[in-house]
Amino acid sequence: MDYLTIIQILDSALRLATPLLLTCLAGLFSERAGVVDIGLEGKLLAAAFLAGAAAAVTGSIWIGLLAGVAGSLAFSMLHGLASITFKGDQLISGVALNFLAAGLTVVIGQSWFKLGGRTPSLSGDGRFESWNLPFSDAMAKIPVVGPAYDELISGHTALTYLALLAVPLSWWVLYRSRFGLRLRAVGENPSAVDTAGISVVKLRYAALVIAGVLCGLAGTYLASLAAGFVKDMSAGRGYIALAALIFAKWRPWYALWATLLFGLLEAIGNRYQSIALGDFVIPVQFMQALPYILTVIILAGFVGKAIPPRASGQSYVKER
C-alpha cells in the first residue's frame, strides 16, 4: 500500500463520513435535550428524496438543499408533536417516521418520475461541486505534503467543510452558551429547568429544529453524492450515526472521530473488495459489512460505559 493509496482511502473516508457526522450531530442535539432520535434514518431518507427530486426538477442542488432541509425539518417537528407536545413514546414515534419515510419516498417517487422510485440523475448544477482550495494545483507538486493537501484536504464539497465546521461550533454552543447550558440541563433533569422558569417544551423543540436542519444537510449530501435518489439510499446510516453517537458519548469532538472511523471502514470496504490471506479470501460481503459489524459491537456495549443524558426517552410531565 503506497502513500497515495492511503491518502486516497482517507479522502474517501472523509467523504463517506460527512453525512454520518452531520446526522450524528443532529442526534447529539436532540438527545442532549432528552429526545431520543431513532428517526434520524427516516429524516435522512426524506431529505435525500426531496433534495434529489427538487434538484432534478429545478436543476439546482441549492434548491434541492432547501427542499431537503424543509422535508427533514417537517419530520422533526412531527416527532416533536408526537413525543413532546403529546408526550408519546419517543422510540415509537421515531420508528414510525422511519417507516413513513421508507414508504412515502418510493411511492411518491414512482408516481412522480416513473423511474421505479428513483429520481432522475443529477448532473452539473444539480450536484454540489468540489471546492479546490487555493494553491492546490501548485501544492500538489510538493512531495508528501502536496498530495495530502490536494487530495485529502482540498476538493470536497461545501457540505463536507460545513460538517467539519459544525463540530467546533456545536461544542461551543453546548458548552459556552446559555442555550447550550439549558439544552444540556433539559436532557439531564427537565424539572430543574422547569422550576428555574424556563420552558422545557420550547427548548426541546429548538433542539429538534437543529437536528432537522442537520439531517436535511446530510440527506441532501447523500443525494448529491449518488447523483440522485435511490430507494433506501440512506442504507442504515441513521442507525450507524446513532451508534457513533453512543461511541462518542454524546460529545461533538468524539462524534467527529467516531464518524471518521465508520467512514474509514466503509472506504476500506469499498476499495478492497476482497483480501487474500494466503489461500483464504475474505469475501467482499464481509468487507462491506464492516461498518455494520462495528455498529453491533458498539451497541453491545463493548466500548466501555457510555452514559446517555439522564432524561433521554422520557417525556416531561410536570409534577406536583
Binding site: S177, E188, N189, V193, K318
Partner: protein, 528 residues
Amino acid sequence: MSVQNEAGRQETVAPTASAPAIELRGISKAFGPVQANKDISISVAKGSIHGIIGENGAGKSTLMSILYGFYKADAGQILINGQEVNITDSQEAIAAGIGMVFQHFKLVENFTVLENVILGAEDGGLLKPSLAKARKLLKQLSDEYELSVDPDALIEDLSVGHQQRVEILKALYRQADILILDEPTGVLTPAEADHLFRILEGLKKEGKTIIMITHKLREIMEITDTVSVMRRGEMTATVKTAETSPEELAELMVGRKVLLRVDKKPATPGAPVIKIENLEVVDEQGVRRVKGIDLTVHQGEILGICGVAGNGQTELLEVLGGYQNGTGKILMNGQEIDLSGKHSNGQTRRARGIAHVPEDRHDEGLILEFQAWENMVFGYHHDPKYQKNALLMDNAGIKAMTQVSMDKFDVRPPNPKLEAKSFSGGNQQKIVLAREIERNPDLLLIGQPTRGVDIGAIEFIHQQIVALRDEGKAILLVSVELDEIMSLSDRIVVMFDGQIMGERLPSETNEGELGLLMAGITDEEKAQ
C-alpha cells in the same frame, strides 16, 4: 416582631414596610372531586420562620405549588409585601422574590455547582460573565451564611446536605426574599439538619422570610416562630410556636389525641434467631456496599439499625430478604442459609421463617396496579392453603382472608378489591405489614416502616411491631428516622459506609451521639 394569629382577617393592607411578606386570602383548589385546598388564609410576617405542618395529603404541597406557580388557584388572592400578585408560572414566582427548595432537589447532577446556580438566571447569551459573577456572589454568600460549597464540584459528588445548600444558593442568587423549604430535613443527618437551621437563622436575621413544610414536630418546635396546621385541605390553626406543644400540634393534625411515644415494656430477649457473621455485599458496579458485618437478633427484641440512607442498610436487607447476593455466613435458627446461588431467593427465605417489609413499598412491597387481595398473597401464593385444586387458586378464600386481615390491621377503606395504588401511603404499608406479620414469621425484616406514612398510622404500625416482639419474634428494623429508632429499638446499631460504627442501648445514648456515629465519627476520633 408582629404576628397575626388569626391570619387574613386584617381589614386593609397597604403596601408598607409593616405589611406581611406573604399573605394568602381564601385560596381554594380542587382536583376533580377532591378539594385539595379549602379557603386557606395565612399571613407570614417579614423576617420570620413560619412552619406548615400536616399529614400527607393535607394539602401543604398543593398550597406551596400554587405559591410557586405550578398550579392556578380556583379562588383567592396572593399578596406579596402587601401587593397583590398573579403568579402563573415559576418565572413569575421568582420575579416576585419567592425561592423554593423542593424535597427532591431540582439540580442537574452532572453539572457543577456554579452551572446549577446560574441555570435560568444567566446574564446574556454567553456563560463566561455569568459564571464569573456567580462565583463572586457565591463566595460572599458562603461567608455570610455558613453556606460554603465548592463552586466547581459536580452535584453528584456532593453530599445531600451540600446539595441542599446549592438549592438555597440558587434561590439567593435569584434574590429571593421569601424562601420555601419542603420537608428540608428528610434526607439530612442530625448534624446536617442543625447546620441547616443555623443557615435559616442567619437568613432570618438578614430579614428573609422562611416557610418550612414538615411533618416533624420536633423541628417545628425548634426553629419556627409561628406554625400553621393543615388537615384535609383546611387550615385548622395558626399559632405562635412558643405558645403550643407537640402534643397539641399532633392533635390538631390528626383530629384526635395521638400517643407520640411508643408505649412498650422492657424487652425479654431469648435465644438468637439470626446470626450474621462477616457479611460482605458487592453490588453490580463492583462497589463494596457492606463490609464485613456481624449481627445477632434474638427472640423478643427489636434491633434497630440507623444510618444515613445509602450506607449499606438497604443492601443488608436485600441479602437477608434473598434478592441480593452476599458472602459470609448467616445462621437462621442455627442452620446456615445460602447467600447466593439458585437456592437464595425470597421464596426460600420465607420458607425459613423470614418475612420482609421492604424499604420501598411501591417497587418491592406491592404491585400498585393489582388489587389488595392479590397483593395480600404475593410471595406466599405457592402456599397450598391458597390453592383450590392443582390448577386454580382459591380466590374467594384469599379475598375472605384479606377481609379479615384488613379489619384487623385497620386498613381503610377495607375493600379487598381496590387497587393498591388507591390506598394512602399508611394504608398501603398496613397491607404489606399484614401480609408479612400474618404469616407468623420468626424474623421480621422491616425497612423504613413509616416512610410517607401519616402520624395516626405511624402510631398503629409501631404498636403492631411491638406486639410482634412481645410474642417472642425477632425484629430487624432499618430506619433513617432517628426518632423511630430511638423509640422502637431495644438495641441500636449504627451503620456508616457499610460498616457497623457501634452499638448502643437506647436508654444510654442520645441523638447527638448517634448523629456523630452516623456521620462516621467514632469516640476515639472525637477525643483527638
